[in-house]
Amino acid sequence: MLGFFLHRLGFSILAVLMISLILFVLTAAIPESPARIVLGADAPEVQVQQFEHEHGLDRPLLVRYGEWVDRLALHGDFGTSVVTGLGMNEQIAETLPVTLELVIVAFVFAVVLSIALGTASAVFENSWIDHASRIFTVIGVSVPGFWTALILILFFAIRIPIFPPGGITPVSEGLGPHIMSLVLPAFCLGIFYTAVLSRMTRSSLIEVLGQDYIRTARATGLPRSLVLRYALKNAMVPVVTVTSMSFGYMFGWALIIETVFNIAGMSGSLLNAISQRDYATVRAVVFVFTLIFLLANLAADLLNAWLNPRLRTVQA
């Protein structure tokens, strides 16, 4: 088990290094020099060189990458943006919790609902509940969440003002309003993954229910609920993998949902940074998201090793 964990951890670290290098090259080598951005396109060459020297931008790319990794790994410091002069750690500390809350609420909503829906659909295959849930899932994976968001704002925030049309009401203004302001964004973010995961749960569970060991469980006369437990533990293996990836992907869609609802989360940081051509901030934000994605995958690996004991011994 420990070997398995170290093996996966090793892979994740390698992946982080590789991806961060790609990211660094993309954000540091491809665009024009930050000096030009800060000083303006027609600043004299001398001034630009002076600026680059001051900020260490004239050194080789790999040296700068090494420095960036070193500062990040040892001090957890993303550094300061050359363009805005703001500390990126502070910026992330301010916006990440907002996005994190939104994603976690939507994620929990999606996971709970999809497991219930997928299980019901599989157990009562071809019943009305199965048909209804399959219609829902096809629509759920097809309708873009940010359009749902626009429509829901139109109807449930403008026409019938039940929910606020945008922003997240801080908890300091009361838990009720805070939750109300989360409902629409979390729903629009979660609905796609509810559909994806319940499809997955359904097909995986149907496959497992046809396995010999489930026949054995029935033949030994286990009660239905226990037979289902036996099946679910096996059926969850592929679902867990997709679930963890969904958690990572949700941060991407959270950017779009935040834009629709004017939520001051990470999307603002990223899109602002893009429009200000502040590539160091882009790098920091994307890196944080990638790290979350990888951590979620690592967690899924561990959960799967628990669900499927064979994985613990079969390595690589």
Partner: protein, 293 residues
């Protein structure tokens, strides 16, 4: 008719196929069927609700929404289908080679690299990379690459790990089959076995995956355009129409957002239903319901 239904894996698959055909036809025939010039500004008819002249109403510049929706199908489909083609172009050979050389260093290098790339969250990277490259025309040597091409290639590249893994797994299974061993014993060279025996047997999951991936691509295009990094105005795309409509949701001009979104949804439903249908036809495992023990 019955054969048609079966070819699409059932009535829902056929509905999906019909939607896809209709949407593609709409995009191809846009010059002939769109009632107005999609870019024609009519300042006297700004923000008119749907009426007999403008079935879907007009936008803030008085442009006809129906015409823009019809023309907007083009970039959506081009990016959705194009990106999948890009991913097949690279992912198919990678997956085949890795799967056919099981246990060799080639397999290790390809699959570990793809695993690492798979750890890239698609949407964020797509947004960030387009943001870095800029939405204008990029010059790559002698090639001028427009933003739509950029988005297409970028999404295609990000799809490669998923597609390659599907081909890899299918190839692994096929390469171990005894009929492949029999071909080897006939003295047939490996590359020929790969193309004449293994490849055709791995295509089913690829076709299913590609169809479903087109659906995802259309939504991704809309999302990227929605944050202003995809298809650039004034050219119409479903995503940038939604982006433009955002400001009018609060003032109640519902037609600006409803119609483009509706077309995205219906198109994506079409590809999803078609993909599910094709899977039911091509995946024989799902048909083993009646095997007497």
């Amino acid at each position: 008719m019955n054969r048609l239904v079966r070819a699409f894996g059932g009535p829902t698959g056929l509905i999906g196929g019909a939607i896809v055909v209709l949407v593609i036809a709409m995009a191809l025939l846009a010059p002939a069927i769109s009632p107005f010039d999609p870019d024609a500004v009519a300042l006297d008819r700004q923000l008119t609700p749907p009426d007999l002249l403008h079935w879907f109403g007009t936008d803030q510049s008085g442009r006809d929404i129906l015409s823009r929706v019809i023309w907007g199908a083009r970039p959506s489909l081009e990016i959705g289908i194009g990106s999948v083609l890009v991913s097949i172009l690279f992912g198919l050979p990678l997956g085949l080679v890795a799967g056919f050389n099981q246990g060799s260093w080639v397999e290790q290098v390809i699959m570990r690299t793809l695993d690492a790339v798979a750890a890239i969250p698609t949407l964020i990277w797509a947004i960030a990379v387009v943001g870095i490259l800029g939405v204008g025309v990029s010059q790559l040597g002698p090639l001028a690459i427009g933003n739509q091409t950029k988005v297409t290639i970028l999404l295609g590249l990000l799809y490669i790990p998923g597609l390659a893994r599907i081909i890899y797994v299918a190839t692994l299974v096929e390469a171990q089959a005894d009929y492949v061993a029999a071909r080897r014993l006939q003295g047939v060279p490996g590359w020929k076995i790969l193309f004449s025996d293994v490849l055709p047997n791995t295509l089913s999951p690829v076709i299913v995956h590609a169809t479903l991936q087109i659906a995802v691509g259309i939504i991704l295009e809309a999302a990227i355009s929605f944050v202003g990094l995809g298809v650039q105005p004034p050219a119409a795309s479903w995503g940038n129409m939604l982006a433009a409509s955002r400001n009018f949701v609060f003032s109640g001009e519902w037609w600006l957002s409803v119609f483009p979104g509706l077309f995205i949804s219906i198109t994506v439903i079409g590809f999803n239903l078609m993909g599910d249908g094709i899977r039911d036809v091509l995946d024989p495992r799902r048909k083993l319901t009646m095997a007497p023990a």
